[in-house]
Symmetry: C2
Subunit: 345 residues, 2 copies
């Protein structure tokens, strides 16, 4: 069995463990944040972790009314001209906790008097030591180079934080259902594996999402690129209409991430445009209309609230990328030219 296959399958357990182990710690962090009353949140991250930060933009924005910026580590490292973060909650997200540029953002933020939080998979990492608070994602060792379980665990950690900040019982209940929903989605793994052969010679692709699933579009795109070496692009539904839609021609594969929710009507309208242009829609959804418009439908459970759908909708994308890499004959656990820990300045 491949490591990545095992790691994808572990996700319900990882999330369940995280919900148990960090419940109290998240409450304490939320209390500190409320006391600090940040004017905004700045999140420093790279690669997959940056996609977790994209999720936080919508989650913390919509639920806790916190504006979220994605940090610009270059200002801290290359230009040695850090922006003033003293009125911010600064969060560093890194699987390894060893992203040097992210650590530098946290260090500068500490010096400026910001409230700082590291979210990592390693209690002993430099980032965990640097930040005032540390939230461990308890994902266990991730051996496959392409991150899967650590991504959903980062999302879950951020979802727990958002929930604790607004202290909403309905949200807590929904969080507890996550392992179940992820497990249900994993039951479709074979169906996805069977469908993927059709895309053996796909040479390019686009992934679209909006709102909470903008992050999902980015993450699925990254997985396919890392594992299959195919050129792809990811867009919000709105940005896509502002130019890149010109790319579409008949047969163009477009992965559309569109769980039921506020973003669905706009996504359905865009799906119609894709069909008019005879593109090939691959749809991740729990909405029948959306799934019916797909050449390849990938189902997720019906009753997921939109704010948590990002943790579930990414799963079919992970399975799609892994199976496509297998069908193409690639080394799945160790893609060419990548290391598990990437240290950038």
């Amino acid at each position: 069995m491949l490591y990545i296959e095992r790691e994808i399958a572990e996700q319900p357990d990882v999330i369940a463990r995280l919900l148990d182990e960090e419940y109290k710690s998240v409450q304490q962090i939320a209390a500190a944040i409320r006391k600090f009353d940040p004017a905004f949140v700045s999140i420093a991250a790279r690669g997959t972790s940056d996609n977790a930060a994209r999720y936080a933009q919508y989650l913390l924005g919509a639920k806790a009314h916190l504006p979220v910026a994605l940090a610009t580590p270059s200002l801290h490292t290359l230009y040695a001209a850090p922006p003033n973060l003293k009125r911010a909650l600064v969060i560093g997200v890194s699987q390894s906790g060893r992203a040097e540029d992210v650590r530098q953002v946290i260090a500068d933020a500490c010096k400026q008097g910001a409230l700082t939080l590291a979210i990592t998979n390693d209690d002993e990492s430099p980032m965990a030591g640097e930040a005032e608070f540390h939230l461990s994602i308890h994902a266990g060792e991730e051996i496959s180079v392409a991150a899967t379980k650590t991504y959903t665990a980062q999302l879950a950690a951020l979802a727990m934080l958002g929930t604790a900040l607004v202290d909403d019982e309905e949200m807590f209940q929904a969080l507890r259902y996550l392992p179940h929903w992820i497990g249900e989605t994993l039951e479709h793994a074979e169906t996805i594996a069977d469908r993927v052969e059709r895309y053996r010679y796909m040479e390019r692709f686009i992934v679209l999402g909006r709102g909470y699933n903008y992050s999902t579009a980015f993450e699925i795109s990254l997985k396919i690129k890392e594992l299959c070496y195919i050129t792809g692009e990811e867009y919000s539904e709105a940005d896509f209409r502002h130019g890149p839609i010109a790319l579409l021609n008949p047969g163009f594969p477009v992965i559309v991430v569109t769980p039921a929710g506020k973003a669905l009507p706009l996504m359905l309208d865009l799906l119609e445009k894709l069909c008019e242009r005879q593109a090939e829609p691959i749809v991740i959804s729990n909405d029948v209309t959306a799934l019916n418009m797909a050449q390849t439908p990938m189902m997720i459970p019906e009753d997921i609230p939109e704010w948590l759908s990002s943790l579930v909708a990414v799963i079919p994308g992970q399975l799609f990328a892994m199976n496509l890499a297998l069908v193409r004959g690639h080394e799945v656990d160790q893609p060419r030219g990548l290391n598990k820990v990437t240290v950038t300045k």
Copy 2:
């Protein structure tokens, strides 16, 4: 003559006019910003204008120490759950001033007590009316669907604002040189046109930048996609190393935007990696080492400070995209499936 050709050529005049006409107004806006003392800046924009916002992240961050967030219009429109922007300077950037979602961000920000500024090419537009301050980019009518002169004018407006905020005489002097540097770059237009035939059958591409020219990578990539319908991706040098570098194989065309400055050493190191993997570097730079590593070098003037290089380094990219569209036989001024004004929710 194509409209886009004329509009690209107009850029020195547009910037010179903008510098003249809005000098005083920018001083007043800067004074209001200093008085308001924002904890951060949030910029709402779509498409090309969003790339101008990316430039502002580095410029306002490094020069004025202001953290800059890219707004999430979905939170204002789809989710009707706007984040709290009362301690922010909120800037809306839109060529037409008719981006409905961007206008909504400004309207919500006004209600919340934020300081608001619209940067548009139309004094009479809804956005110009909605914001407390308006900065006109004075670019004149832009007829070609793909934005060129309005992009550099948006960047110049933001550069003027950053300069006024720090009130630095050396920066003012440099700004005044911009039309000259852009004019010098345009002199290489024919050399670029001659080189482009080589890329007639290019099927995919990557554009890389870092720091101030992260925005340039995005904008050049968007121009090629809009005009040539080729799939491409844009990355910061750091994010590229975190996964997408796996895509590279011999002959892969990679446009590397790397003017002299703080980002250059890292970009040179990455260029070496590209050469090792026998990718095809197309380099926009004023650094001899970088240009020498290129299959296709595209020169910009030597003495541009890095913070203004984004306004100049984009020009060879505009010319490359336009000429490639011509060589491929596309309708350059009216790409398929695009309108000049895109209204998104």
